[in-house]
Amino acid sequence: MPDDTYKPLLMGYLDSELTEIEVLRMEQHLEQCPECRRELEEFRKLKEVTQNMRVVTPDARSWEEYWSHVYNRLERRVGWIFMSVGAILVTSYGVYSLVAKFLLRSDIPLVVRVGIVALVVGFCTLLISVLRERIFMARMDKYERIKR
C-alpha cells in the first residue's frame, strides 16, 4: 500500500491541483514508490474511462423555471397555513350548525337526521379520497419536465 501521507496528494497530483512544491515532493516520492506509481496509473485509467461523460442534467428550461418552482412552494406553504386555519374554522362552524339546527331538533324524523349524517360523512370521505389521489398523481406528473 502507498504511504498514507501521499494518498491524498496522489489525487491532487492526478487532477493538477497541487502547488509546485507539492508536485516536486510527489514526483520525488513516485520515483521511489512503485506501489504509488501503480495506483496513480490505475486512477489515471479511471479518469480516462469517465472522461467526457456527464451525469443526467435537467434541460435549460428546468433551470430557468427552477426559482419559480421554489417560489411556488414557498407561497404554497403560506397558502396551506391559511387554508388549514380557514378549513378548521368553517368545519367547526358547520359541525356546530349541523348539530344545533338538525340533529338536536326533535321535530325532524330520526331517519332524516341519520340520512344527513350519512350524507355528510360520505361526502367528506369521497372528497378526501379524490384529493389524495389528485395529490398523488400530481407528484408523479411533475417529473415530466426532466429530459432523460
Binding site: 494518498k7 491524498p8 496528494l9 496522489l10 489525487m11 491532487g12 487532477d15 491541483e17 490505475e42 486512477f43 485509467k45 479511471l46 479518469k47 474511462v49 469517465t50 467526457n52 461523460m53 456527464r54 451525469v55 443526467v56 442534467t57 435537467p58 428546468s62 433551470w63 427552477y66 426559482w67 418552482h69 421554489v70 417560489y71 412552494r73 414557498l74 406553504r77 411533475k142 417529473y143 426532466i146 432523460r148
Partner: protein, 188 residues
C-alpha cells in the same frame, strides 16, 4: 463559485426579501442538484429535493449566521432531506436498491459518427452508471462533483464546508471504491 457580498444578501433574506433569496437559489441550484443526485441517484428526485431544501432553508434563514458561508449550512439541510428520502424509499419498496441501480445517474452518451463505437461507448457508460450507483452516497457525491462536473478542489471544499485535504482523502477513497466496482463489472 463565490457570490459577491453573500452576507448582505443573506441579511436581506432574513428580512423576508424573496428577490435576494432568488439570487442565492440561482447561484447554488446546480451544485445543490448534483449533491442531491449523489445521494438519491434519480435525477427527478434530486431536482425535487434540492428545491425542497431551498424552501426549508428560507423558512429557517433567521437561524443562519450570515458571517458564514451559505452552502455548507444549506448542504446539511439538503443532506438530511436526502437521507430521509432514501429511508422512506427503502421502507416503501424493498427492491429499491435494484431499481436505483437501473435508474441511477447514468452518464449521457457522447455520440460519434461510428455506430459500432457508439454502441461500445453506450455499454461503457451503462457500466459506469451502475458502478456509480453502487457507491456509498458520500463517495458518489464527490465523484459526481469532481469527475462529472469538473468542480475544482477549492470549489468542492467551499460547497461541502470541508478542508481541501479532506476533499483529496475522500476522493481517494471514492475512486478506490469506483475502481473496485468497475472491475466487478468487467471494466479494466
Amino acid at each position: 463559485m463565490n457570490l459577491t457580498d453573500e452576507g448582505s444578501i443573506i441579511e436581506r433574506c432574513k428580512r423576508g426579501d424573496r428577490d435576494a433569496f432568488a439570487s442565492i437559489v440561482q447561484h447554488y441550484m446546480k451544485p445543490a442538484y448534483y449533491v442531491a443526485l449523489g445521494y438519491v441517484g434519480r435525477p427527478e428526485d434530486a431536482l425535487d429535493l434540492s428545491q425542497d431544501a431551498f424552501v426549508n432553508a428560507f423558512r429557517h434563514i433567521k437561524r443562519f449566521d450570515s458571517s458564514r458561508k451559505f452552502f455548507p449550512w444549506f448542504y446539511s439541510i439538503l443532506k438530511n432531506l436526502c437521507m430521509n428520502h432514501i429511508a422512506r424509499t427503502r421502507r416503501r419498496q424493498e427492491s429499491s436498491i435494484d431499481q436505483m441501480a437501473e435508474e441511477g445517474p447514468v452518464p449521457i452518451p457522447v455520440e460519434t459518427v461510428d455506430p459500432e463505437q457508439n454502441a461500445l461507448r453506450r455499454d461503457l457508460e451503462a457500466r459506469v452508471g451502475q458502478a456509480l450507483q453502487r457507491l456509498r452516497p458520500k463517495d458518489r457525491e464527490i465523484i459526481i462533483l469532481q469527475h462529472f462536473q469538473d468542480y475544482s478542489y477549492q470549489e468542492i471544499a467551499d460547497l461541502l464546508g470541508i478542508p481541501i485535504g479532506t476533499v483529496m482523502s475522500r476522493l481517494y477513497g471514492a475512486r478506490q471504491a469506483m475502481r473496485r466496482e468497475l472491475e466487478r463489472l468487467g471494466v479494466k
